[in-house]
Assembly symmetry: C2
Homo-oligomer: 378 residues x 2
């Protein structure tokens, strides 16, 4: 462990927990007890038993989000289980409160079985206003999210998929402006066919971008591949219109944009050199990007973004999830639709009306972000 | 709905929720983000993945309790489901925070199947420091609690059972002083063989009280009954040493103490009249007791307690659960043992060294209560 890591641990230990609960009413007298506990609470219980739809008006359901993970794909750390996931979920709960005033609480799951996960989340869902799924590995994450969306009458969003997709589309809209190309006409290469890669692909397609190639560790995903999972077979069908085959280097020839959601250090200057002029490079692996900004620039990239706060253009999903859930809670929205995600991406991009190579996206502390995205939720 | 009920609903609606989350750290700068979210949080995630036992030092697990119900036996309202349960659980979370500084959050379950309940709670348990089960109906509550205690390495307590049992024993210890009888020699009749009745019976037995008769809606529970569930058959074996049969009135002949955990209005002055002199009457059905204090007094009762705040001697489990979990969290205790409950009852009773007929138990706003009970947890 580095000295810096030891210091971080020490700091977290002195803090203990980063969130806590807080009372919103006084409980100082017998009268307070009689009103806010028994017998007063019985009146509300009877009312909600008869009118469950009013839970949003009379309980924590009005403003609460469960941040749920099974710890199977935590940050870049991989499958580190519920205790490994807990600090990240707590961090998200902190962000929910600080950026969007939402009462989020972490729930980490001690199972990685899809049925058990779905059953447990359905069982505990009633008291929450929304469910933010986090750090579930692909391809299980797709089925888990889909089944929960169908089963529950509250918004359910796997943030690694859709939060990332929205921020990438927002970044791409503005990056296209900077390089003076039509976004819809961009040739895009997405490296990584996990949760983020799949969701980015689908959102870019629905935004009208037609020439997308997706690669995984075996190379370009195309219909000739015989080793594809169901979700990758679907990707083969809906992407790669020029039927390119080969590896990432082949995919990048004349590409306008590279979007990395794979792993550290998988891309070199030589990869960037084969791209079209004025190329866009989003190297989003965290904490170590697919290629460092200086190397991408040396390869010819014009607009470069990463997931890190210490480089320009941080494309982080914390720009998205607080506003999405703020909007859904405020408006009683039950499903986060594709249209919502497109509107959210456009709203986020529109906050930087005159983007430059080093400023395509707002800072996640920019107070305009949450209201702009919340407004996009209908 | 009465005018008062309408006012209560209006008040709850204006409050919205009685609890919320609160940040314990600042998140105002990029540096704050880098420390308390990524990449800083990754250091803690790695540490906890390798050392799950340290979750108590570095996360919400240090001070959190899930307040969980399936809504099958809510207050005196019966089986009103998760939405009916939600306001009560929120009220308990409020009490946890206000009285014991514990970060509790309500979880209401959309299933009443024992296996599904146990599986869901085990699945979500890792992030919590303790689990307070609430308002689960008997006899399911016994199996659910037992299986969770065996499966989990955090304290699990069904408060309707053990919170109630502890406060009843505490009250009985002091009531015996008032009527100048030896607590161990009391003839006790318990009306109601549900969650509370069973737990009270077992705790009083382990406190050395030997002559206990339990009644249910069919009358006295004894070994001659052929209609008994498993748990009631167990009660028949461990109680009723004089092998009394008949109904509640038969049970009460010469009894020193009546403990009602059944339903409203089931006891009259005539029942109390057949009891021994200087009788003790705990009529704990809520909000309407088995017998009102004035009628019990007219029947000859000397010490009278209810579950209500508007009569003297309120025996409410909110005197117990905050301190039990405060002690367990502070000391990393994994099981709430029978010894703990006995010590807690004695500690609670000892706070009123000179009890009188109208003061056998501390007020639940008495600041000494939580520390005294927490100290009893080892």
């Amino acid at each position: 462990m580095t000295k810096k890591d030891t210091e971080i641990l020490k700091r977290f230990k002195s803090v203990g927990a980063r969130i806590e609960t807080k009372s919103r009413v006084k409980l100082k007298s017998k009268e307070d007890f009689a009103l806010f506990y028994t017998p007063g609470v019985g009146v509300v219980s009877k009312h909600l038993a008869a009118h469950p739809e009013d839970a949003r008006l009379y309980s924590i359901k009005r403003n609460s989000v469960a941040v749920i993970s099974d710890g199977s794909a935590v940050l870049g750390l991989g499958n580190i289980g519920p205790y490994g996931a807990l600090p990240v979920m707590e961090g998200k709960a902190l962000i929910f409160k600080e950026l969007a005033g939402i009462d989020a609480w972490p729930i980490v799951l001690d199972t990685q079985n899809t049925d058990e996960i779905v059953n447990a989340i359905i069982a505990i869902a009633s008291g929450w206003g929304g469910i933010n799924l986090e750090d579930f590995s692909a391809p299980r994450c797709f089925e888990i999210e889909q089944r929960l969306i169908e089963a529950l009458a509250i918004p359910v969003m796997h943030d690694d998929q859709h939060g990332t997709a929205v921020v990438v589309l927002a970044g791409l809209l503005n990056a296209a402006k900077v390089v003076k190309k039509q976004c819809k006409n961009l040739r895009v290469v997405i490296s990584g066919a996990g949760a983020a890669g799949v969701a980015i692909t689908k959102l870019l397609l629905s935004a009208g971008i037609q020439d997308i190639i997706v690669t995984d560790t075996k190379g370009i995903i195309n219909e000739g591949r015989t080793d594809l999972t169901d979700i990758k077979r679907e990707l083969a069908e809906i992407t790669n219109p020029r039927a390119v085959s080969g590896d990432l280097l082949d995919a990048l020839i004349d590409a306008d944009a590279f979007i990395g959601v794979s792993g550290p250090g998988s891309v070199t200057k030589d990869h960037i050199k084969v791209m079209a002029k004025k190329s866009i490079v989003f190297a989003l692996a965290n904490p170590i990007p697919e290629i460092l900004p200086e190397e991408a620039r040396a390869g010819g990239a014009m607009v470069i973004a990463t997931g890190r706060s210490d480089f320009p253009n941080q494309l982080n999903n914390s720009l998205v999830f607080p506003g999405i859930f703020r909007g859904a809670l405020d408006k009683g929205v039950q499903k986060i639709t594709n249209e919502t995600k497109l509107r959210a991406a456009k709203a986020l991009a529109a906050l930087i009306p005159n983007p430059t190579a080093t400023k395509i996206i707002p800072d996640n502390l920019d107070k305009r972000v949450v209201p702009a995205i919340a407004k996009a939720v209908r």
